[in-house]
């Protein structure tokens, strides 16, 4: 596929934006790494050689009885010293870089939890004796995936809503605008507190709930573009040519609105990450025990004697948001028609 000269120019401006490009590279690497969190931080070995057989505990569940007659047919616990000794006697195990899952409770700590950074726990442990580095890797992944899911879903709804408003205009637009104003005034946080008093919100419930209120981000921009776009002559021509309303909206007007929308996306993404972190911090977010950056911030506040918790949370969350904002700035500049490649 060949890019249009405009897209080529935008790509060139983006590439010339060194800070943005580096932020994108670092973010891509971190995100890719966190996608494979199970292979990096896990309390199961990657590979076991036992009596001439290969086992892949990362991908499969095995019973302990698979590793000798002396064990019970329960799910294998690879942190169990007896099982480890049996595996070491009959073969070997290859462990991930960080031999802890986000919910593994570390045994034999040198200091009471939260214990300070050590060779075994480079970022220390939290107050439930779980490895902070493992939790950060999983928490990063949850944050980014949640952010992406919320951004994509909210943008899709927001663009559709804005398109309908701007395209039909008139009474539709008027009623819709008033509805958005009322909806915007809903006390989100209190509703969420009420919700979490009734059920324990999981990933999807939380996503759906935040979606109810975050789709309005893009509506205004898209509405404005459609109000302008519906009077363009080629849009009028398209209607005379018998193009259906949906066809006119998506084929002829939406591409104009996409520039404005794309410019907003990285900022919506960083906003979504922040929202999840703040809800987790307040305890209204993901269920207790889930790895989350917001929960780590809360732990840092509760354990001021263990500064590594707070500092880690600050660096990871701050770093992630800074990366996203740098990417966002580069994208915004790339779509800025006044910006020239220097």
């Amino acid at each position: 596929m060949t890019l249009s000269p405009l897209s080529q120019r935008r790509l060139a401006v983006f590439r010339a934006h060194r800070r943005g490009v580096w932020a994108l590279r670092i973010f891509a690497v971190l995100f890719a790494v966190s996608l494979f969190a199970e292979f990096i931080a896990n309390d199961r070995p990657l590979l076991i050689r036992f009596d001439g057989h290969w086992f892949v505990p990362v991908l499969h569940d095995y019973a302990e009885s698979d590793f000798g007659p002396g064990f019970l047919p329960t799910e294998a616990d690879y942190t169990d010293p007896t099982l480890r000794a049996a595996i070491a006697a009959h073969g070997f195990a290859i462990w991930p870089l960080i031999p802890y899952h986000y919910d593994t409770i570390a045994q034999n700590l040198a200091a009471p939890a939260p214990s300070p950074p050590s060779w075994r726990h480079p970022l220390g442990t939290d107050d439930a004796a779980r490895d902070v580095l493992a939790r950060v890797i999983y928490g990063f992944r949850t944050s980014v995936l949640f952010g992406f899911a919320l951004t994509i879903a909210a943008s899709a709804i927001g663009i559709a809503a804005g398109a309908v408003q701007g395209f039909y205009g008139g009474l539709t637009d008027l009623l819709f605008q008033r509805f958005i104003e009322i909806w915007n005034g809903m006390p989100q946080l209190f509703l969420l507190i009420i919700l979490s008093a009734i059920i324990t919100p999981g990933f999807w419930v939380l996503l759906g709930f935040l979606l109810l209120f975050s789709w309005m981000n893009l509506t205004g921009v898209v509405r404005a573009e459609f109000l302008r776009g519906r009077n363009l002559e080629y849009v009028r021509a398209a209607r005379a040519l018998g193009v259906s309303d949906l066809g006119v909206m998506f084929r002829h007007i939406l591409p104009n609105a996409m520039v404005a929308s794309l410019t907003y996306l990285p900022f919506i993404l960083s906003g979504s990450v922040t929202v999840l972190a703040s809800l987790d911090f307040l305890g209204f977010g993901l269920p207790p025990g889930s790895p989350s950056l917001g929960e780590l911030v809360a732990q840092g506040r509760d354990n001021l004697q263990a500064p590594w918790l707070g500092i880690t949370a600050f660096c990871v969350l701050g770093g992630l948001l800074v990366l996203l904002i740098f990417i966002g700035e580069a994208v915004r500049d790339a779509f800025d028609p006044r910006r020239q490649v220097s």
Binding site: E233, R236, A238, A240, G242, V243
Partner: protein, 334 residues
């Protein structure tokens, strides 16, 4: 051609397009509750007809409602009152689903060749869209064949098929616009200031192209323009509009030779003549076009008419015959 034989088709054959008493008033909202505080009388009772293969030019100053007439005929906007008949069938009251089928029979060429083409679509896609919409092509090969045929009709080189609109000149873009209007085998094409944005030389090319296409395909054209000089070369009949009403409608030769309405005379005297020695009687118009929100009572033109008398201020003149097929709305000549 002289005035009487300018008409193509006899009176007994129903015209392709028949417009009767067409009105469009745009409401102006204001006040605390957003109620209608005033109305713009953009089109205020317009009637005309176009026979098959005929060109009717609608001329007038900007703001006289001529483009609104075009959009009403195409049913891009709904009329406030009046009837639009295409081949004897009323299209102003058709439901949306039926209207879509009628749309294939009337097409439009817009003024600005730079904004009337979607800058993101290639020529192939621009021309394929109407063909697909009305299901006119059988398969990909047939679609491509039709696109090439359209490009040939408007004298665009075939190798331009995968180019984007910005790679063309204004005249070429207007050719793409015309090809798009031809794509549905329309009977009627509304040219809304179709050549006004072009250079003089290109203007002539496009006018000639339209005339050739009309002869070749038997098209009817509603040619909306503010430029009488261009109209003179290509039209069968001319309708002159002033402030939402037709003040004179006549075969071309009759209108240019014997204009009956003072406004038409003023317009004609404003057409530049490329001969510095020519002696001309100049009819200057003073003042501005009155606001269509509060059009003057009686004859709309009386505020600027050099011959206005008392009756013009109170009673609106109706179109009355002035010659074969020649009608004018003026108290003066009655």
């Amino acid at each position: 051609m002289d005035g009487a034989t300018d008409r193509v088709g006899a009176r007994t054959v129903p015209p392709l397009l028949d417009v009767r008493g067409l009105k469009k008033h745009f409401p102006i909202h204001g006040g605390v509750l957003g109620g209608v505080t005033a109305r713009v009388h953009a089109v205020d009772g317009v009637s005309f007809s176009i026979a098959k293969g005929e060109t009717l030019s609608l001329v007038g100053e900007s703001g006289c409602g001529k483009s609104t007439v075009g959009r009403l005929v195409l049913r891009l906007i709904a009329p406030t009152a009046g009837e639009v008949l295409l081949d004897g069938e009323r299209i102003d009251t058709l439901p949306a689903a039926r209207l879509r089928m009628v749309r294939s029979r009337m097409q439009v060429v817009f003024q600005d060749p730079f904004s009337s083409l979607n800058p993101r679509l290639r020529v192939r896609e621009i021309l394929a869209e109407p063909i697909r919409n009305f299901g006119l092509a059988r398969g990909r090969a047939d679609l491509e064949k039709r696109i090439f045929a359209l490009m040939d009709k408007v004298r665009l080189p075939r190798e331009a098929i995968d180019r984007l609109p910005h790679e063309f000149s204004g005249g070429q873009r207007q050719r793409i616009g015309i090809a798009r209007a031809l794509a549905t085998d329309a009977d009627l094409i509304v040219c809304d200031e179709a050549v006004s944005a072009l250079d003089v030389s290109v203007k002539a090319q496009i006018v000639n192209l339209l005339a050739d296409l009309q002869a070749e395909l038997g098209l009817s054209l509603l040619f909306i323009s503010h430029d009488l000089a261009i109209v003179e070369h290509m039209t069968h009949r001319v309708a002159v509009m002033y402030l939402g009403r037709i003040v004179e409608i006549a075969p071309r030769a009759a209108l240019f030779a014997r204009p009956a309405h003072p406004y038409t005379r003023a317009l004609l005297s404003a057409v530049p003549v490329p001969d510095p020695t020519a002696l001309r009687r100049h009819v200057p118009l003073t003042g501005d076009v009155p606001s269509p929100i509060h059009p003057p009572a009686g004859c709309h033109f009386h505020t600027r008419c050099p011959h206005a008398f008392d009756r013009c201020r109170s009673e609106a003149p109706v179109l009355s015959p002035r010659g074969p097929d020649h009608m004018a709305a003026c108290h003066l000549a009655e």
